[in-house]
Symmetry: C2
Subunit: 541 residues, 2 copies
């Protein structure tokens, strides 16, 4: 990736957003969703955060542990760590309703973290681990915590500690970001291959804490599968979970800590499984005559082991948007029109496929994959659209800023289910969202894609655009509840890769059962009996 | 597999063993290990099991719950369920030191299991889940339980409940065996593809409870990866863990129940990920000039994603045994001699590779794999040896019976580590075993193979043959302790696929740390506060 300057402006994703929507986007929105009521974000320094609830004595106590330089109570630091990057978090900043942590601390070692947690226990202060700050499910929303709270920033714990090239393993401090890790791995011919949309900011510890999946997860695996072992500092001691590639030594405690979202401990160190940098990367785009044909092709590829590393299938609604917006001056739309003219299909569904590896392996796998796609009616759009996807694949968060400036609700929802239930799930969830967000205008606009495929099922990622209502928080909550209720009723998962945070917590009971929640609470009680760790996340306290 | 009559004779693996060792085997043993002191097993009916500690009233109580037909207290039934099939278990039968459960119960439903567990709690009786009875780590050894105990047999919970062909999912009662499941799946064109050496007896619930791996796990994955979801009946309610292919809804409770070895609950139902029956199966055998070349080839295949579905690399000691014993009249040895003559290698290491899938996919993968093997110096032995491996791949347990009859200690030990540590691990563990089992004879004979490869490491499976000592139990315990201490010191796992049971339990603390054990104990306390479930397994109570 090109270097990318991040300023951690709490109001938006980063510099470069706020440039406004293109003419094509504005035309599309007015036609499909209606005219939004512009609601410009405040400037960086205008976000108010209120006074810290930590008195001078407590701050001095933290400074004795970590050094004064590593305990931040100024407004700028607290503002930068005030929540994550969910729609609600961004909205709070625009509505001048931000809750900031009472301090930000920067431990420099595992021992520092242990001391900070002991201090929190002794002083009745909550500790929320802050990696890249990119939670989109309210994982970092300290405004909902019932006591003073500090953000435990992982920023100083960002070293590469060991590289075992022979074993394809790298051990890092949990605070290292994806770009920095990839930069260092590249010098050894290695890559992690994990590219969530939050890649420019998110940390390795955050990937593991939230069970993140990336754009190449079909090929490279989810973050769950990338963790060989971890160090987790808890108020009751330090856990080292995971050891070797595979074990039968009882239940897998690594899987209990992955996805624990800071409720059980602070992940300070992660040993990751890495791969050789691919010699070749080959992306392509194809169009299916309809969505069902695309699903059948993706399922056939998954179940025969002939997957590409990136597999993304857009429904007709997303296909229309993608092609209209992609390339210079509607080049994508032109290609689509040509395709449509020849085929006379009315519901085109576009897919992006990406293969990575040695030249020979990519060539062989590509031939096999394209053969399966073709047998299901896919027609190639050539390399332009595929390349455009790769170039713009981290653009979503920027676009979200611009859409919010223009007065739109923009949200995504992600789930997964079995192949046999995917069509019904999509139809149900989209109907529910349309009903929940209906207004007097033409919108909302609901579109979706499948972007992670498995032998037994696939993810479903739904994007919804609507005009913001008068009470945008209530509007969002109502739509979120309706959609998540529908997921539960369909037997799908409440989240495929965003995590639980606070926004999904009310439905965790439906996902794992009350006894399942009891188990999580027992583990919490064992590791964090005073309940200082990210209270409320996963619904645990 | 050909139909295979199992009689569940508690003294040995099955009919067909006890035929005695071949001349070639006897010659080898005398030369390499020395002459054993024959110790013939007792006959089926001669194994004494002692009286049941359950009085008539308790038995009547169980009969009221399940029906009298499903509560067995006769010697024959108790003898058939008296422990597993570990070396110590087999030895106990030969030494007339068997501890049998006080009764065997056969629940017919999830509700039955719930009632049995409640009854156990109320009456202070331990409940040990019995699937195929093939534990080789003391998972079923009720003689070490501090109270009366019953075996909860899964034999009646063996139905195929649902097949979702589109999603490649099958839901079964946990008591179904591998052969029965494969027979039913085959009628739908599907296979589980899980073939542990215990396949003829072991149950699906047992696979999941012990984190079993099979001979094709490099291709098909471990049992951990085959479970989409499970129903687990605990004394505090019924858990449904797992839901869809992938989720980010908090920690993965499925991974907490997989490997729980009956300590947290009774797995009654499992939804499994299955595959299409392969059109083609292609096995081959190759010989490397030395073991290190074989390891390098296997590592290259694993790290480039060019794995075969079966990958097994024998060290020179195992290679010598395998080739000498395989095929009619030393045909394998003859092939080896031809190879050695041409190449003048002194430490040949043989590998078995198996590919499965569509004709086209197998052809392509085979070419790629054989290319990598050849570049590392491998020479093909042709199809004969590979076919012999597949034909005899379930023979190990039979041979063990014969070796014990002839007075030999025969045991296996399995672990896994990173690629960079594998050579040192093998050398250390083998040295420790040789020292621990040294006697005045030429033995012991120690040999090993790698049979499961991962990007970051591989399994190591060590077989040891020695003459039985005067106190064979103490002899085994001492060697086991020395070897497991060595695994721990090397940072390897204490078990790659056999599980923990009671034999590995003393080292679980070294594997997961005392805080890790505390977490397991907390979960146990939540789900089984009276401690009725398989007390002592995993070291939990």
């Amino acid at each position: 990736m090109a270097a990318f300057e991040l300023d951690h402006d709490p109001t938006r994703w980063g510099r470069g957003s706020g440039d406004g929507l293109t003419d094509a986007a504005q035309t599309f929105l007015v036609q499909q969703v209606g005219v939004g009521q512009a609601r410009q974000a405040p400037g960086w320094d205008d976000v108010r955060v209120g006074p810290s609830r930590l008195g001078a004595e407590l701050v001095a106590g933290l400074a004795r542990l970590l050094g004064a330089d590593h305990v931040l109570v100024d407004d700028a630091a607290r503002r930068r760590h005030a929540g994550g990057l969910s729609y609600l978090d961004l909205l709070a900043r625009r509505l001048d309703a931000v809750s900031a942590p009472d301090a930000v601390v920067l431990p420099g070692s595992e021992a520092d973290v242990t001391e900070v947690l002991a201090w929190c226990e002794a002083n009745g202060v909550a500790a929320v681990t802050f990696g890249g700050g990119t939670s989109v499910v309210g994982g970092l929303r300290t405004g909902e915590v019932d006591r003073p709270s500090i953000m435990v920033s992982m920023a100083r714990l960002d070293d590469v500690l060991d590289v075992d090239v022979e074993s394809h393993l790298v051990t890092v401090g949990a605070g290292i970001t994806g770009p920095e890790l990839e930069r260092i791995l590249a010098t050894r011919g290695l890559t992690l291959g994990h590219f969530p949309q939050s890649w420019q900011r998110a940390t390795i510890g955050g990937y593991a804490a939230t069970r993140s999946a990336g754009q190449s997860s079909t090929g490279y695996g989810r973050s769950d599968e990338m963790v060989e072992s971890m160090v987790v500092v808890t108020p009751r001691g330090t856990l080292r979970v995971g050891r070797v590639a595979a074990s039968a030594a009882g239940p897998d405690l690594r899987a209990l800590m992955i996805g624990s979202e800071g409720a059980f401990g602070v992940i300070t160190q992660v040993t990751l499984r890495v791969r050789a940098v691919p010699a070749v990367t080959s992306d392509t785009a194809v169009v299916f005559p309809d969505y069902e044909a695309g699903l059948a092709a993706f399922r056939a590829m998954a179940q025969s082991g002939a997957t590409a590393d990136v597999m993304r299938l857009s429904d007709p609604a997303e296909t229309a948007v993608t092609l209209a917006m992609s390339g210079p001056a509607g080049r994508g739309a032109e290609l689509l029109d040509r395709y449509l003219g020849v085929r006379r299909v009315r519901e085109p569904s576009m897919a992006i496929l990406g293969w990575e590896g040695t030249r020979r392996a990519v060539a062989a796998r590509r031939v096999e994959g394209l053969g399966m796609l073709t047998r299901h009616g896919a027609v190639s759009l050539g390399p332009t659209v595929g390349a455009a996807w790769r170039r713009h694949r981290f653009d979503g968060p920027f676009l979200r800023d611009d859409l919010m400036d223009a007065g739109y609700l923009v949200e995504t929802l992600e789930t997964a289910t079995h192949w046999s239930r995917l069509t019904e799930l999509r139809s149900t969830v989209e109907s529910v969202l349309r009903a929940a967000l209906a207004d007097e205008g033409p919108g909302p606009y609901v579109m979706s894609h499948v972007s992670h495929v498995y032998d037994t099922g696939a993810s479903l990622y739904v994007t919804v655009l609507a005009r913001q209502g008068d009470d945008p928080v209530a509007q969002w909550r109502q739509a979120k509840a309706a959609a998540t209720d529908a997921l539960v009723a369909q037997g799908a998962t409440i989240t495929h890769h965003h995590g639980v945070g606070r926004d999904h917590a009310p439905w965790l009971n439906a996902e794992v059962g009350s006894l399942g929640v009891d188990i999580l609470q027992s583990v919490k009680q064992k590791l964090d009996p005073a309940g200082v760790l990210n209270p409320g996340v996963l619904g645990l306290s």
